[in-house]
Symmetry: C2
């Protein structure tokens, strides 16, 4: 089966979702080229819709488009990586506090199911899926806080975080232990905003500490970059 979605209505948004998932789950590596014809063939649509999708992903920072060159999965620099987590540190703690004040039992149940799914993915050694679910968890909190604007920003930041993790994660084995997530859910259930805010702040710092943002030893983008001088 060459086409992912046979006999289905494929919209640009659908392509964005599928590609985004693939990037989140690290099935497509940062720097990978996304040729318009190729993607179009896979989804069974013309380049028109593919271009729309790629532009959308460029706006959310997941894809970089170079004129007359094409679209590539973004490769955040060290600076960008730091900026992403700095922005998250500004947005998420307050949002967690707001979520604690609004979380309904249904919300809590949803988050708990989320954690279960995450564990299951880890046990099946599907690290990519687990990472994606972990990101969704953070977005879900913004949704519970009923902050659509921040949720939208956070979606972008979580996406870029996934790229950062693909590039700068220190030890591949130990994925973010969801103890932090568990504790957060507890705080939300109790409506304890102070604790939720602190836990979120700590959780983000913890994530950051597991990244290797000191020196760029990682493989260079292009040969030109690698060999210049």
């Amino acid at each position: 089966m060459s086409t992912v979605t046979d006999s289905r209505i494929v919209t640009a948004e659908e392509i964005v979702v599928q590609l985004t998932e693939a990037v989140h789950e690290h099935r497509i590596q940062p720097g990978a080229k996304l040729r318009e014809d190729e993607v179009g063939d896979i989804f069974g649509v013309s380049r028109t819709l593919v271009r729309q999708a790629l532009r959308a992903m460029e706006h959310s920072g997941l894809v970089r488009i170079e004129r007359n060159k094409g679209a590539f999965v973004a490769k955040p620099t060290l600076k960008e990586a730091r900026e992403v987590f700095e922005a998250r540190a500004l947005l998420e703690p307050s949002t967690a506090r707001a979520a604690a004040a609004r979380a309904t039992p249904q919300d809590i149940a949803l988050l708990e199911q989320h954690i279960i799914d995450e564990h299951a993915a880890l046990e099946r050694a599907e690290a990519g899926l687990a990472l994606k679910l972990s990101g969704d968890f953070h977005v879900a909190i913004a949704r519970i806080a009923d902050q659509e604007t921040i949720e939208q920003f956070l979606r972008q930041l979580v996406s870029r975080s996934s790229l950062v993790i693909a590039l700068y994660w220190r030890r591949r084995n130990a994925l973010c232990e969801s103890n932090a997530h568990h504790a957060l859910v507890d705080a939300l259930r109790n409506g304890d905003g102070d604790t939720a805010e602190d836990l979120m702040k700590g959780h983000l710092l913890d994530l950051l500490s597991q990244l290797d943002l000191r020196e760029q030893v990682r493989g260079p983008v292009s040969l030109k970059d690698a060999l210049k001088k």
Copy 2:
């Protein structure tokens, strides 16, 4: 002159900039329809580029696109209006602090020129232009802080703020007195991060207090909206 830019290379980005400016300066009202053919004729390009531009503006929240209906300048609801300023309250104070630690004499000079331009626009009774410049001032601070990610978010938030102001501004005459901006520049010049952060926080609260976010009494966009039922 029917075309804004005769004998010039017009790119999608150019269209975004021009349209965005027009919205910022309130020359296009929230809710206004942006027909693809019409915009295309004005800029002398085909609908392809116009669609690209409108999609981009949709992503930044300045335009809302309804399938098979067309693109409209966004009309933030009361909730969205509040969210915009809540998000700014989270991002900007810290950013002002960071800017205070990094601002060079050139940066300060740039901001001061900004304030002068703003005053000049006010004296010429060009309220729209003054508003746009005022927004640029906030973005400039993020740039000084060297936070590209936050700068990008802030650009969107300032855009939407412009829409919010168009819809919910209480008294049309008194535009944001740039005393606040002046004091901020002073703090930045002195490298006083604490003061800069506090001033920014107060400035945003001040802006918010000048909005009428209680009830939506404002006039509807189209006759149909006005007369339905």
